[in-house]
Amino acid sequence: MKLKLTLRALPVVLTALTGASILHTTAARADDAVPANTVAAGIYQIFYHVKADDLSGPFVPPGVNIDLKDTRTAYFGYFRRLTSYLDLELAFGVPPETKTVGKGPATLGSVPYAGATIATSKWAAPSALLEYKFFSESTALRPYVGVGVNYTSFYDRDVTAAGQAGTGGPTRLSLTSSVGPVGTVGLKYRPGTRWSVFASYSISRVDTNLKTDTAGEIRTTHVAFRPQALVVGAGYSF
C-alpha cells in the first residue's frame, strides 16, 4: 500500500507521534537513566537525484529539463527517547539554498542553458521519524533505522538573470509544497549519558509541481527531487 500523506494530514501524524512518545516515555522513564531529551547539531550533505518531466508550455523546445546542484547545510535535531529502543527524531536544518541548473539543450536559441544556474530557492524541510535502535541501551555503539514523514516548502524562489534570459523575462516561480515518506539508517555512538555522536543516511520523497509565469506565459513540469542526505552530528541529552 502506498503511503499517501497530505499537508493537512501532517499535524495528525505529528500529534500521533508525539502522543506515542508521551505514553512510552511514561513507561520507560522509571527504569532508565538515559535522559529523555537530546538536542543535536551537525552537517547535512544533500544529494539530489532529480527526475523531472521536460518543461512544457509555450515556446519551449523539446528536451528542456532541470537538475539541482547538491548542497550542504547545518543540521539541527531533537530526539525524544520513547523507550530504550525507540526514539522520535524531529530533524530540520538551516534551510539550504538550492541551485537549479538547466539540463537538456546547450542553448535555447543563443542563450546558454545546460549547466547554467537558472533559479535558486530555499527549502524548509523538517522531518519527523520514529527510529528503532538495535542492541541494549548499555551498548555504546547502536545502529538504528527509522521511518517518518517529511514536509518541504520552498521559499525565496528566485529566477536568476540566466534563468530569465532562458524564460524570456522576469519570471515568477512557484513550487508546490511536498509531503512524503522518509527513511533513514544510522549509527549512534554514546560513550556516556550526556553526549553522543551519530551519522545517518536518509532517503526521502520530495515531489513538486513547478510552474513559471513569464509575462503570462505559463510553463510547468513535475519534479521528483529524490534527495538523499548524509548527516554527521553530535547530540547532548538532558
Binding site: 508525539t18 512518545s21 508521551i22 531529551n37 538536542v39 515556446f59 523546445p61 539541527f76 531533537y78 525524544r80 524531529l90 530540520f92 534551510p95 542553448t107 535555447l108 536559441g109 543563443s110 542563450v111 530555499k122 524548509a124 523538517p126 516548502s153 521559499y155 525565496d156 524562489r157 528566485d158 529566477v159 530569465q164 534570459a165 524564460t167 524570456g168 523575462g169 522576469p170 519570471t171 515568477r172 516561480l173 509565469d213 513569464t214 509575462a215 503570462g216 506565459e217
Partner: protein, 539 residues
C-alpha cells in the same frame, strides 16, 4: 512534557522565519483595456538568436532558407523576438486583445544597437488562426523568418501584429481588409511596442524616430491604410512600401466577379463577407444570400481556423477553387437586351466560347479553374454584384478609363459599397512621403494591374506623383532595380526548368508554367521585401 512543547515551538518558530522572503515576480500587467495598451511589460522574449546562430538556423531549413539568405544577405545583427499582447478594437469597435511581434536587433555592431529605425510590418492572409508571427521557433512561420532576416537582422526594429481574430484574440472573426480596423490595430501595436522597447533585454536599442511602413498581400493593403491613418493622425512616417496589396478593392472585386477569379478567392470570400458583415451588418440576412447551400452553413465562422485548410477542403466545408458556378447565369436587364447579352457572355467561364479572354494569357486556365459546380457563391449573388458594377462602373475595371481611374461614385450593392468604402482611392488622401509600390505583373492572386497600377494612375498627378514609385519585379530590368528584377526573373526561369525536369515531375511547358504562376504571389514576396529594404535604406 513542557520541554517537549518548547522544542516544538522552537521548530515552528524556525519554520515561520524560514517561510519569509521575497520571490522574483513576473512582468507588470496593465489593467487598462484601452486600445494601444501593452498588456504585459516587459513582454516575454520567445527567443534570442545571435547573428551566427540565426544564419545557421535559416540555412538549416533547406533550399528555401538558403535562397532567403542569398537575398537578405548574412545577418549583421542578432535578433530578440518578443511576443506582444495589446488591446485593440475589432471591426465593430469591440475591445479585444491582440498579439504580435517585436523583433529587436542585438549585437555590438553600430547598426545593431543604439537608435534604430522601426519597420511596421503587416503580414499576408493566413487561414491558420493560431498564427503567431513572433514565434520564430515554429518552422512554419516563414513570413516571420522572412521579415526577421530581411529587416531585424539588418538593424531594423520590426513590429508586426498577428491581427485581431488570430492567436490569443478573442474576436470571433478577422476584420479582413477593413481599413479603419486594421490601420488602427497597426497603430495600436506600434504604441505597445514603443512602450515595451525600453523594458526589453536589449534596452540599449532605442527608437530612432524613423518609421517605415510595409506589408505584403493583405498586409500590403494594411500598410497603405496605415500610412493613410498615420498621416491623418499627424504622425511622422519616413517612407512606406506597400507590396502586392489589394488596394483598389472595388476594382479588384469587380474583376473577380466579372470572372477573373484569383487564386485564393474561396478563402478571401468568406473572410471578407464575415468581416464586412460584422462591421456594417448589411452584407447578408442569411449566409445563403451569398453562398451555395452546400457551403453556407457555418461559413461565417469558418476562417480563420485552427483546422488546416486542406482538411477544411477535404471536409467539404469550402471548395478549393470553385468560387463561381460553371453554369453561366443568364443576365436579364429589362429593356436592355444588348447589355444583358454582354454581361451574360462576360460571366461565362474564361476561355470558353462566350468568354475567350486574352489570347495566350497563362492566367486564363487559372481563372477558369475558379468555376465549378455548385461553386461557393450563388449565381444570383454574382449577378446582383455585376449589375451594380455595370450600372455604377469602377474607373479601372473592366476597362480603365482615360486619366485617373476613380472608384464608383454611387455603388448600391452592399458588398460593393463596403469594398468601395475600404478602397484606397476613397477619401481625400495621397502619400505625402516616399512610397514604393512593389509587385509582379503576372500575380494571379492579387492582380498587379488592377491594384498597383490603378493606384499608380490614381496618384499620377502632382503632388502625389512625386512621392510614389512603382516596381514591377517582372518588368524588363532597368535601373535602379536592374539586379533585383533580373534575379527574380532568373529564379522564375529556374523554377520553370525545375518543373519541366524529371526531378520536378517532368511537366509539359504549359503545365510547368501554371505551376510557376500558381506560386507567383508567394515567390514575389522576398524580392519585394528586399526592394523595400533597399528603398528604406535611402532615408
Amino acid at each position: 512534557m513542557k520541554r517537549f512543547r518548547s522544542a516544538l515551538g522552537a521548530i515552528a518558530a524556525a519554520m515561520l522565519v524560514a517561510a519569509c522572503g521575497s520571490d522574483t515576480q513576473t512582468s507588470v500587467e496593465n489593467p487598462s483595456t484601452s486600445h494601444g495598451t501593452l498588456v504585459e511589460n516587459p513582454p516575454v522574449r520567445i527567443a534570442s538568436l545571435n547573428a551566427t546562430d540565426f544564419q545557421t538556423q535559416l540555412a538549416s531549413t533547406g533550399a528555401s532558407g538558403q535562397q532567403l539568405l542569398q537575398l537578405t544577405g548574412s545577418p549583421q545583427c542578432g535578433v530578440d523576438f518578443y511576443y506582444l499582447k495589446f488591446y485593440t478594437l475589432g471591426g465593430a469597435g469591440e475591445v479585444t486583445m491582440s498579439s504580435g511581434a517585436l523583433m529587436v536587433p542585438t549585437g555590438a555592431a553600430g547598426t545593431c544597437s543604439g537608435p534604430r529605425p522601426i519597420v511596421l510590418y503587416a503580414h499576408g492572409t493566413q487561414t491558420n488562426k493560431t498564427l503567431n508571427i513572433a514565434d520564430i521557433t515554429n518552422t512554419s512561420n516563414t513570413e516571420g523568418a522572412l521579415i526577421a532576416a530581411m529587416f531585424a537582422a539588418q538593424g531594423y526594429i520590426v513590429v508586426a501584429p498577428n491581427y485581431a481574430g488570430y492567436d490569443i484574440s478573442t474576436l470571433g472573426y478577422h476584420p479582413f481588409v477593413n481599413a479603419a480596423q486594421q490601420s488602427g490595430e497597426m497603430m495600436d501595436i506600434l504604441a505597445a511596442a514603443r512602450t515595451a522597447l525600453p523594458k526589453t533585454f536589449a534596452a540599449s536599442t532605442t527608437d530612432s524616430g524613423k518609421l517605415f511602413v510595409t506589408g505584403y498581400s493583405e498586409g500590403g493593403y494594411v500598410a497603405m491604410a496605415t500610412q493613410r491613418a498615420l498621416q491623418t493622425a499627424g504622425a511622422t512616417i519616413t517612407a512606406a512600401a506597400p507590396m502586392s496589396g489589394p488596394y483598389a478593392l472595388e476594382a479588384f472585386g469587380d474583376a473577380i466577379f466579372y470572372g477573373d477569379v484569383d487564386i485564393g478567392s474561396t478563402i478571401f470570400a468568406p473572410l471578407i463577407s464575415t468581416s464586412y458583415q460584422h462591421a456594417y451588418g448589411n452584407i447578408y440576412t442569411a449566409t445563403t444570400d451569398v453562398y451555395s447551400t452546400q457551403y453556407a452553413s457555418g461559413i461565417d465562422t469558418l476562417l480563420p481556423s485552427a483546422t488546416p485548410i486542406d482538411t477544411i477542403y477535404a471536409n467539404g466545408q469550402l471548395p478549393e477553387l470553385a468560387l463561381f458556378n460553371s453554369t453561366t447565369p443568364v443576365v436579364t436587364i429589362p429593356n436592355n437586351p444588348t447589355l444583358s447579352t454582354v454581361l451574360t457572355d462576360a460571366l461565362a467561364v474564361p476561355g470558353s466560347a462566350l468568354n475567350p479572354g486574352i489570347p495566350n494569357d497563362p492566367r486564363t486556365p487559372l481563372f477558369a479553374s475558379g468555376f465549378g459546380s455548385p461553386g461557393l457563391i450563388t449565381n444570383d449573388y454574382r449577378v446582383s454584384y455585376v449589375l451594380d458594377a455595370a450600372g455604377n462602373p469602377d474607373g479601372a475595371v473592366p476597362t480603365p478609363v482615360a486619366g485617373v481611374p476613380l472608384a464608383a461614385t454611387a455603388p448600391t450593392q452592399s458588398l460593393r459599397k463596403a469594398l468601395n468604402l475600404n478602397d484606397m482611392r476613397t477619401g481625400p488622401w495621397a502619400p505625402a512621403e516616399p512610397t514604393l509600390l512593389c509587385g509582379g505583373d503576372q500575380d494571379p492572386t492579387v492582380f498587379f494591374s488592377v491594384n498597383t497600377q490603378t493606384m499608380q494612375a490614381f496618384w499620377s498627378t502632382s503632388p502625389a506623383a512625386a512621392y510614389v514609385s512603382v516596381l514591377d519585379v517582372n518588368a524588363t530590368p532597368a535601373a535602379p532595380w536592374t539586379t533585383l528584377q533580373a534575379t527574380f526573373q532568373a529564379s522564375q526561369a529556374q523554377l520553370l526548368a525545375f518543373y519541366e525536369s524529371t526531378a520536378g515531375g517532368g511537366l509539359s511547358p504549359e503545365a510547368a508554367e501554371e505551376q510557376v504562376i500558381a506560386a507567383y504571389h508567394t515567390n514575389v514576396a522576398p524580392f519585394c521585401s528586399l526592394a523595400a529594404r533597399i528603398f528604406f535604406s535611402q532615408f
